[in-house]
C-alpha cells in the first residue's frame, strides 16, 4: 500500500466521522427544539383553560357581590387582552396582568361568607388555583427546556451546527409582576 492511499483512507474516515457528528448534533438540536415547542404548547393549554374558567367565576361571584362591578370589568378587560396577545413577551405581560386582577377578584370573594360556602364556587376556586399552579409549573418546565436548548446552541462546538442549521435562541417566559413570581397561592 502506498502512502497516498493510507492518507486518503484516513481523510475519508475523518470526513465520515465529522459527518456523523454533524448529523447527530443536528438531530439532537431538532429534538431539543421540538421539546421547547411542546413545553410552550403545554403553557398555552393551561392559559386557554384559565381563559375558559374566568367567565364562570365572574358569573358566580356576581350573584353574591353585585356592587363590585368595577372589578368584574377589569377582569373581563384583562382577559380579552390576554386572549388577543400574541408572541412570548406580549403574552407573558398580558397574562401577568390578568393574574393580578384575578387575585383581586378572589380577595373580594373572601368577604362574602355565603359565596365561600357555595359548592359551585369552591369547585371553581380549586380549578382556578390548580390552573394557576399548572401555568406556573408549565412555565417552569418551559424555561428549563429553553435554558438547556439555548445553552446547547451557544456552546462550542454545537454552535457551529446551530449556525448552519439556522437554530435561534428561544425567549424565556418571565412574568413582569414581582408578586406573581412568588408561589402560586393555594387555598382549601
Amino acid at each position: 500500500m502506498s502512502g497516498a492511499l493510507i492518507i486518503g483512507i484516513v481523510v475519508i474516515g475523518l470526513l465520515i466521522l465529522v459527518g456523523l457528528w454533524f448529523l447527530m448534533t443536528y438531530n439532537g438540536l431538532v429534538g431539543l427544539r421540538n421539546q421547547v415547542k411542546n413545553a410552550w404548547a403545554q403553557i398555552d393549554v393551561q392559559l386557554k383553560r384559565r381563559h375558559d374558567l374566568i367567565p364562570n367565576i365572574v358569573e358566580t361571584v356576581k350573584g353574591y357581590a353585585k356592587h363590585e362591578s368595577g372589578t368584574f370589568e377589569m377582569v373581563v378587560k384583562a382577559r380579552s387582552a390576554a386572549v388577543s396577545a400574541s408572541g412570548v413577551q406580549a403574552q407573558a405581560k398580558a397574562e401577568g396582568e390578568l393574574s393580578g386582577v384575578l387575585s383581586r377578584l378572589m380577595a373580594i370573594a373572601e368577604a362574602y361568607p355565603d359565596l365561600k360556602a357555595n359548592q359551585n364556587f369552591l369547585a371553581l376556586q380549586e380549578e382556578l388555583s390548580s390552573t394557576e399552579n399548572k401555568i406556573a409549573f408549565s412555565r417552569q418546565a418551559y424555561n428549563d427546556q429553553v435554558m438547556i436548548y439555548n445553552t446547547r446552541i451557544q456552546m462550542i462546538p454545537s454552535n457551529i451546527v446551530a449556525g448552519i442549521g439556522g437554530f435561534t435562541a428561544s425567549d424565556l417566559f418571565e412574568l413582569q409582576d414581582e408578586a406573581q413570581r412568588a408561589a402560586p397561592s393555594v387555598k382549601f
Partner: protein, 402 residues
C-alpha cells in the same frame, strides 16, 4: 438532571448484569450438581433458569402494573371523583414533563402512604385516604412529586426487572435446598466413574454455597438500589415543586403515623413512599436489609437544601447530612441553579376532620353514592340502593328529587 438519570441507568444495567450472572451461575451449578456434572446438565440448568426468568419478566413487564395495583386493592378515580388529587397529579406531570398523565388511584386505608408504578408513557399513582386526610395541599404535592419522580426516573420498570430476578434466584435456591433435604436426588444417581463423581461433589458444594449466598447477595444489591432511588426521587420532587419543605413535612407526618397498611406485603413494600411494614417497630435504623433510607435523614436532607432546588443543592445537602455524594459530582457540571419558591404566606392549618370526610366522600362517589346539596348547606349522600324517587333533607325538610 438528565445526566443523573443516565448515570443511574448505567448503574442499573450493571446491577441487572451482576444479578443475571448470579442467576446463570446458580442455574449452572444446580444443573451440574443434579446431573452428574455433565456439560448437558450444566447447560440444562442455565437454560431452565433462563426460561423461568424470561417468562416471569415478560409477564411482569406487560401485566406488572395491573397485578401490583390489584394486589394493593387500589381503585381508579377520575377528575370528578377527586378534583384536588387529580389536579395535583396533573400539576406534577406538567412540572416533570411526562408525556402522559398517570392514572390516579385511591387506597382505602387510614395509614398514610402512596406509591407509583409504570413507565412514563403508562403510569399510575396511588395514595391512601389516610394520606389525603392528614396532609395540606403543598405536602400532598410533595408526595405526588416524589412518586412522579419514581416514574420519571424509570424506577418502577427497573425495580420490576430486578425484583423478578431476585425472585427467580430465591425460588431456584429454594427448590434446590429442599430437593437436597428431602431426596438427595443428585447423589443417588452418581454411579459413573470416580472422576465425574469428584467433579459432581465439587459442583455440589458450590451449588449449596451458592444456594445459600445468592439470594442474600441479590437481595442486598436490590435493596441498596432501592434506597438510592428513594434519595433520587426526593431530589426530583424538590426540582418539580421547587419547594422541598412540602415533601419534608409530609414525610414527617407520614412517619409519625403508626397505623398499619393492611394491604401491603413484602412484594409491594419497596413501591411505597415510606416502608409500610416498618411502622410497628418505630425504629428508623437503616440496615443492609432496609428498602428505604431512614426517614429522618431524608427529611433533614430536604430541609438542608438552602441554596436552591436543583440536583446540586440536594447533593450538597446530602453531603452535609451524611457525608459523601448520592448523585455524583460529574453530573453536576452543567447543573443549572434552580431557585426555590418564595416563602409562602401562612396557610390555614390542616383540617383533619374535614379532609377525612372529603377523602371518604371520594370512596362514596366511587361506590355510586348520589350527592345532593341542599340549600340549607347540608350535603345528603344517597346510597345507590335507595329506591325512593325523592329524599327529604333531615335538617330543613325540603324534598329533593333524585
Amino acid at each position: 438532571m438528565w445526566q443523573a438519570i443516565h448515570r443511574n441507568k448505567i448503574k442499573s444495567v450493571i446491577l441487572i448484569i451482576v444479578m443475571g450472572m448470579l442467576l446463570v451461575v446458580l442455574g449452572a451449578s444446580i444443573g451440574g450438581a443434579i446431573a452428574n456434572g455433565t456439560p448437558e446438565g450444566i447447560l440444562g440448568g442455565v437454560m431452565i433458569s433462563g426460561i423461568i426468568w424470561f417468562i416471569m419478566t415478560v409477564i411482569a413487564l406487560t401485566q406488572g402494573k395491573n397485578i401490583l395495583l390489584a394486589l394493593s386493592g387500589a381503585r381508579e378515580v377520575s377528575h370528578d371523583d377527586a378534583p384536588q388529587l387529580y389536579n395535583i397529579v396533573e400539576e406534577m406531570r406538567i412540572a416533570a414533563a411526562l408525556p402522559a398523565t398517570p392514572k390516579v388511584f385511591i387506597l382505602e386505608s387510614r395509614a398514610p402512604n402512596a406509591f407509583a408504578v409504570g413507565t412514563p408513557m403508562n403510569a399510575a399513582v396511588a395514595v391512601t385516604t389516610g394520606l389525603l386526610s392528614i396532609l395540606s395541599r403543598d405536602e400532598l404535592q410533595g408526595v405526588v412529586a416524589h412518586e412522579i419522580g419514581h416514574i420519571k426516573n424509570q424506577d418502577s420498570r427497573f425495580m420490576t426487572i430486578a425484583g423478578i430476578m431476585l425472585g427467580v434466584i430465591v425460588i431456584l435456591a429454594d427448590i434446590f435446598t429442599r430437593s437436597m433435604f428431602y431426596g438427595g436426588m443428585g447423589r443417588r444417581r452418581s454411579g459413573g466413574s470416580k472422576d465425574s463423581g469428584q467433579l459432581q461433589l465439587i459442583l455440589f458444594v458450590v451449588a449449596i454455597v451458592l444456594a445459600i449466598l445468592a439470594p442474600l447477595l441479590a437481595n442486598l444489591l436490590y435493596l441498596a438500589c432501592s434506597r438510592s432511588r428513594e434519595y433520587l426521587a426526593d431530589a426530583s420532587a424538590a426540582i418539580f415543586t421547587r419547594y422541598p419543605e412540602g415533601l419534608a413535612s409530609a414525610l414527617e407526618k407520614i412517619s409519625s403515623s403508626t397505623l398499619p397498611l393492611e394491604s401491603a406485603n413484602r412484594i409491594t413494600a419497596p413501591m411505597y413512599i415510606i416502608n409500610p411494614l416498618n411502622k410497628a417497630s418505630g425504629t428508623n435504623v437503616v440496615s443492609l436489609f432496609s428498602t428505604h433510607p431512614p426517614t429522618e435523614e431524608r427529611i433533614r436532607i430536604l430541609r438542608t437544601m438552602a441554596s436552591g432546588a436543583g440536583l446540586d443543592a440536594y447533593d450538597n445537602a446530602y453531603g452535609k447530612v451524611k457525608g459523601g455524594r448520592i448523585i455524583g459530582s460529574s453530573d453536576l457540571r452543567s447543573a443549572e441553579v434552580l431557585e426555590l419558591r418564595g416563602i409562602k404566606p401562612p396557610q390555614a392549618d390542616v383540617n383533619r376532620p374535614k379532609q377525612t370526610r372529603e377523602a371518604n366522600d371520594i370512596l362514596l362517589r366511587l361506590n355510586k353514592f348520589n350527592f345532593v346539596n341542599c340549600a340549607c348547606g347540608l350535603r345528603i349522600k344517597v346510597p345507590p340502593a335507595f329506591a325512593a324517587p325523592s329524599v327529604t333533607c333531615p335538617r330543613c325538610g325540603v324534598k329533593h328529587d333524585l
